[in-house]
Symmetry: C2
Subunit: 201 residues, 2 copies
DNA sequence: GTCTATATGGCGATAGAC
DNA sequence: GTCTATCGCCATATAGAC
């Protein structure tokens, strides 16, 4: 895994990202990753002993990016309202730049629950701490009656779902790629107020 | 596909559902489906010529169930408020009974966009008609200012997402299976008011 | 219709030369 | 470190007996 020729390892990882993100573990082929990286299969195994190892590196990286992105905002010192606005703007923005990651993660977490537990346990900030902080924020805002966990899931659902369902959305609304981009840009603007109205009595 | 022994074909389909829903096309094995159905691989090919054919039958069925469920409610003669309540109650209820279908559909639609277009075109009620009806409902309720397409996606996102992200949710909240069930039951109760508050000015 | 046996190809992984 | 060649296995699919 550590070598005197980092350029090759990084090229393998880039190729592996492209292929695994799109096709998942079962659909990906070592031959395709090798071709994308401009090398041959044998060299893949020289750097990362097995398909599973290579996949783990890619999965871990994507998972941490996706989770830390949101946990960093939630766990920051911003006001409650600012946090909501930042999440919708930055989190959706991240997925616009990495449109395959949400489906990739949400699909692969079903296949290996043990790895998921391990990854969550090794996060820099434990989720339990983040969530008790959310709860405290809500109490300070005088909204102690709403379940903070339901709210967190609602916010993530509204952010992530359009990217998971993109092909379906494009089809049922007859959206071009530009239409879809516009639809997402509108969400960034409209979702914060949607949430504020929903939670303020 | 049509035969004098329907019991076998139905047993194959039941087995194929169980395996494909959980593992997707790439992860499923014809051997496993045969074993689940209590027959051998050769007989699978006798009834459904290829893995792809068998998968298509399973996919089409799940897709139509998932889409028609919601389109039937949306296109019904219920009042706007009733529709919202029915969607959250019945749609979430359907997914509680079929927890693998949302992930299955949302994952596989990425792999064959052509089949998706075909399936949508063959729906009993065309989506465009359903959505113009939603728009009309909103105008009658004096809520013409909100984008009906954004609202539809929000409602579906809030319903579907917890099932797609179930392993993640259980992990980060330290939920047992019973905790998760309770969490979903609470959503059924709370989501209608969440939406009503969000859209009423 | 249902089985056993087998064809055929592709996959992950390794051996060994350079 | 990087390559070519190949092993061993397992997948889908078919042939052919009953």
């Amino acid at each position: 895994m550590v070598t005197s020729h980092p350029a090759t390892e990084e090229r393998i990882l880039e190729a592996a990202r492209r292929v695994f993100h799109r096709k998942g573990f079962d659909g990906a082929r070592m031959q395709e990753i090798a071709a994308e990286a401009g090398i041959n299969k044998a060299l893949l195994h020289y750097y990362f002993r097995s398909k599973e190892n290579l996949f783990d590196a890619v999965f871990k990286e994507a998972f941490n990016e996706l989770i830390n992105k949101i946990f960093t905002i939630v766990g920051s010192e911003l006001s409650f309202e600012e946090k909501i606005r930042y999440i919708f703007n930055d989190y959706i923005g991240f997925m616009q730049k990495n449109p395959y990651i949400p489906s990739f993660i949400l699909n692969e977490i079903h296949h290996n629950p043990a790895r998921l537990t391990e990854l969550i346990n090794s996060l820099p900030n434990p989720p339990s701490g983040i969530f008790s902080q959310v709860k405290k924020s809500l109490e300070e805002e005088g909204m102690a009656d709403i379940d903070h966990r339901q709210l967190v899931i609602n916010i993530i659902a509204l952010s992530v779902f359009p990217f998971i369902a993109k092909p379906l959305i494009k089809n049922i609304f007859n959206f071009s790629e530009e239409d879809f981009t516009g639809f997402i840009e509108n969400r960034k603007k409209e979702l914060p107020d949607f949430i504020f109205k929903a939670i303020h009595s």
